[in-house]
Amino acid sequence: MRVEDVEVTFRTPDQVVQALSGVSLQVEEGEFVALLGPTGCGKSTLLRVVSDLTHPSAGVVEVRGRPAAEARRANEFGFVFQEPALLPWRTALDNVMLPLEVVKYPAAERRARCEALLGMVGLSKFLNRYPHELSGGMKQRVAIVRALAWNPSILLMDEPFSALDELTKNQLQDELLEIWSKERKTILFVTHNISEAVYLADRVVVMSAHPGRIVATLPVELPRSRDPGVRETLEFVQHVKRAREALRL
């Protein structure tokens, strides 16, 4: 995935806001990249530009060798938001089935596929529950497997864990790493939580606001197959420190 010199400006009645300015980024296939920055630095906008939901005012986005719009039409992107954003009138299973009804997925295999995915995140017993009957963590698990259902190559995650409590958050982070190590998706993960970015990513891209731009790119040199113990190591703390210093720019 290649983002080059992307600019995004929004016009409101009384001002022009530059959401992204001269943003360039290269992401390898199967790489886990965290976009870290304060609110308003355009990291969510960057996700929207990559997935062709927002058109850049200037610049080029190329996904797996083709323009973003074509990649979107080829269903390359799975989106996960801060809130689960499930359909309240559909059960957990039917929520995961939703994208399969839209992308041309063989009807006969839909159910088995979704049941397997929900099983993977420990929700086998909750297939027929409605969202209001599930906890916050469960709902977000459903939202994550909904974004995996049709096996897209890229996961775009917009602060997916920031509304969860600490314990659930840590649990879901580990589950996400496990999914990623099994399915080898390319992941763009937006967060404003420094240790979350370091814990999850291969590379932390630090952004800054007004205008939104990339100020630093920090490779994370921690061993893969990370477990919670990694957070207590000196190396981890040094990574967090470096990211924090970059944010202060």
Binding site: S51, F79, W89, V102, Y130
Partner: protein, 260 residues
């Protein structure tokens, strides 16, 4: 799930008994006062007289059926046209700007003023009554449906766009179901209004229907029949409201209804 469990469910009897007792008391006092002061029946008939009239009234079922038919036909026409129009409005900025002012104007026109006009055009049959019932229900249905269609979660819409869903898929899988609570809230208001519309239309130039019954019994000072008509109308209104309330519950399952 944090649903509040009320104390053990009241039995139907416990629920119905207090209002029934109060009703009986009121009727009893009414009956006694009328008998004691010998109030003339054209001024205020006793409850027993009204009940007797209710039993004897010929053609009551026919008049009631006709009014219900007019109200429901108008309601149904409004529902179909209103929901279709709302769907078009949320898909086109031009239509929204162009049509909405007229929808608001349609609500501002006093409905009684249009009845003579519609009667000139369509005669004394049931057609103008259906139209009035339809016009009077149009506004709550369109405004509620439009609001409902716009209430769809923006992130789900983003999600649907990100997987290249068509407008049609987005409408039927996301927007329309999101609008259901609003549509039913509109239906509940419209149901009672449709009855008002049909009855008011029957006041003017009609020889059948509950509205006709109200007008003729009033002009002939048959006050007992007037009471019977009013009670039937009230019962119909409550029934329609209850039916749509029940349909709403069925359609929404665990979701909350929209308060209006």
């Amino acid at each position: 799930m944090s649903e509040r469990r009320a104390e053990p469910r009241e039995s139907l009897l416990e629920k119905l008994l207090p209002p029934a007792l109060i009703l009986a008391a009121i009727l009893g006092v009414w009956e006694a006062l009328v008998r004691f002061y010998d109030v003339p029946p054209w001024l205020l008939p006793a409850p027993s007289d009204i009940a007797a009239r209710f039993v004897k009234a010929t053609n009551l079922l026919y008049h009631t059926g006709l009014t219900v038919l007019e109200a429901l036909a108008g309601f149904a026409a409004s529902a179909v046209i209103g929901i279709t129009l709302s769907a078009l409005i949320v898909h086109s900025r031009f239509l929204e700007r162009g049509v909405f002012p007229y929808i608001i104007v349609s609500n501002a026109i006093p409905i009684i003023a249009i009845i003579p006009l519609l009667t000139i055009w369509f005669g004394y049959g049931i057609a103008p009554k259906i139209m009035i019932a339809s016009i009077i229900t149009f506004f709550p249905i369109v405004t509620n449906t439009t609001r409902g269609l716009k209430s769809a979660d923006r992130r789900i819409l983003d999600f649907m766009h990100s997987i290249n869903a068509t407008r049609r898929e987005i409408f039927f899988k996301v927007q329309l179901p999101s609008a259901l609570p609003y549509i039913f809230a509109g239906f509940k208001i419209a149901a009672s209004l449709s009855l008002v519309g049909a009855v008011v239309a029957e006041f003017y130039g009609s020889d059948r229907g509950l509205g006709y019954l109200v007008i003729t019994s009033a002009t002939q000072l048959r006050t007992d029949l007037l009471f019977v008509s009013i009670i039937v109308l009230a019962a119909l209104g409550v029934t329609l409201f209850a039916v749509f309330g029940y349909l709403e519950k069925l359609a929404l399952r665990g979701e909350a209804a929209v308060e209006r």
